[in-house]
């Protein structure tokens, strides 16, 4: 399969800085792709630095390994090693600057090769699969809210009102850097989407499908999602990376 990738990040309508960071790369034949998205936190400067350090480290470590004919298992190992390095770099930067002490970042990554993708994430940035007009979230948020939904303490309708709705249980730079890994098969026509919580917070998931199905390319699909989020007054930074298969 041949992949097409596009991505955009926007500051949103309220925030004064964009702490999200995105990047992606494809091999020369566009048959293998690496997509990364990070959502930083820990103050104005800290959030930007943490997401940038994580993104740069992952791209620097993993992009050279694209199309090296590796197995999914060895790719997962490479991703984990890169995440460990990113975590060490964030810790080192925190040690230099006391005002960055609370910085950290989420990470969501997809490494797409052949007819499958390996996924890795820490925090609440998500990966979705759009397959046959059906949208499926492939990642589980590392949040207090997710834990409480699963143990039955709260219900979906309580989520917008609970005071700890933004509290992560895990993040790069703030906890053990071990990611949660997943693997997903891909078919021609599938879309794989990475996003920060700015998108999920601004735009109902059921609106994504019609926006994406009307788009004639990954570029216009990404632009449509960002534009719709901003029209809804996106309070947080909004970021999307989208991959199509054909």
């Amino acid at each position: 399969m041949v992949f097409h990738v596009s991505g955009l990040t926007d500051i949103g309508t309220v925030r004064t800085s964009n702490q999200d960071a995105i990047d992606w790369c494809l091999d020369d034949a566009s048959t293998e792709a690496l997509l990364v998205l990070a959502d930083g936190m820990g103050g104005y400067q800290g959030g930007e630095e943490a997401s940038r350090i994580a993104l740069d480290t992952l791209m620097e470590s993993l992009a050279p390994a694209l199309n090296a004919g590796t197995t999914p298992e060895s790719r997962k190992q490479s991703v984990q090693l890169a995440l460990n390095l990113a975590s060490e770099r964030i810790e080192a930067r925190k040690a230099q600057a006391p005002d960055l002490a609370k910085m950290g970042t989420t990470i969501v990554l997809a490494w797409v090769s052949g007819n499958s993708a390996i996924l890795a994430h820490i925090g609440d940035s998500r990966c979705y699969l759009l397959h046959n007009e059906s949208l499926q979230c492939l990642t589980r948020d590392d949040t207090v809210v997710q834990n409480m939904l699963e143990d039955g303490s709260i219900r979906e309708r309580d989520v917008p009102n609970v005071p700890f709705r933004n509290v992560l249980t895990r993040a790069l730079g703030a906890s053990d850097a071990t990611a949660t890994f997943g693997e997903v098969p891909l078919e021609p026509g599938d879309l794989l989407l990475l996003c920060s919580d700015g998108l999920t917070g601004a735009l109902e998931e059921n609106e994504w499908i019609s926006l994406l199905s009307r788009a004639d390319s990954v570029q216009t699909g990404v632009q449509a999602l960002i534009d719709a989020s901003l029209e809804k007054g996106a309070k947080d930074n909004v970021s999307v990376v989208l991959l199509s298969t054909n």
């Binding site: 207090v144 834990n147 303490s153 309580d158 700890f164 933004n166 509290v167 992560l168």
Partner: protein, 116 residues
């Protein structure tokens, strides 16, 4: 500390502290918060105060209707199962209006942060 303030015409007339793991509300005298009014059942509702399993030092408050005749409402919705209370929720016991306030919740940071 959390409290439940009874309102009459939007004015606070009495404030009850939620200072026990389980606070019972109803018309009978054996309730922690006794509401001697005709729309209130003998054992009407209970508020539980439970430590949050994932956030150290944070308490969660849940209200459950005990099969009352005229119902327990949170923000005008009749509850049919255990419901978490958020600060400033309006609670109605039969025809009696209350406001739930959790002072610790108001102090909680609203922007994203990480649990260390």
């Amino acid at each position: 500390m959390a409290s439940l303030s009874q309102l009459v015409d939007s004015v606070v007339v009495t404030t009850f502290e939620i200072d026990k793991p389980e606070v019972r509300l109803g018309r009978r005298t054996n309730n922690d918060i006794r509401i001697d009014e005709i729309s209130v059942s003998g054992q009407h509702a209970v508020i539980e105060c439970v430590p949050n399993a994932y956030l150290e030092g944070t308490m969660d408050y849940y209200i459950t209707d005990k099969g009352s005749t005229n119902g327990t409402f949170v923000n005008d919705l009749r509850i049919t199962e255990r419901q978490r209370l958020n600060s400033n929720d309006r609670v109605r016991i039969g025809w009696n209006e209350f406001r739930f306030v959790d002072e610790d919740e108001n102090a909680m940071e609203k922007t994203a942060y990480i649990l260390d």
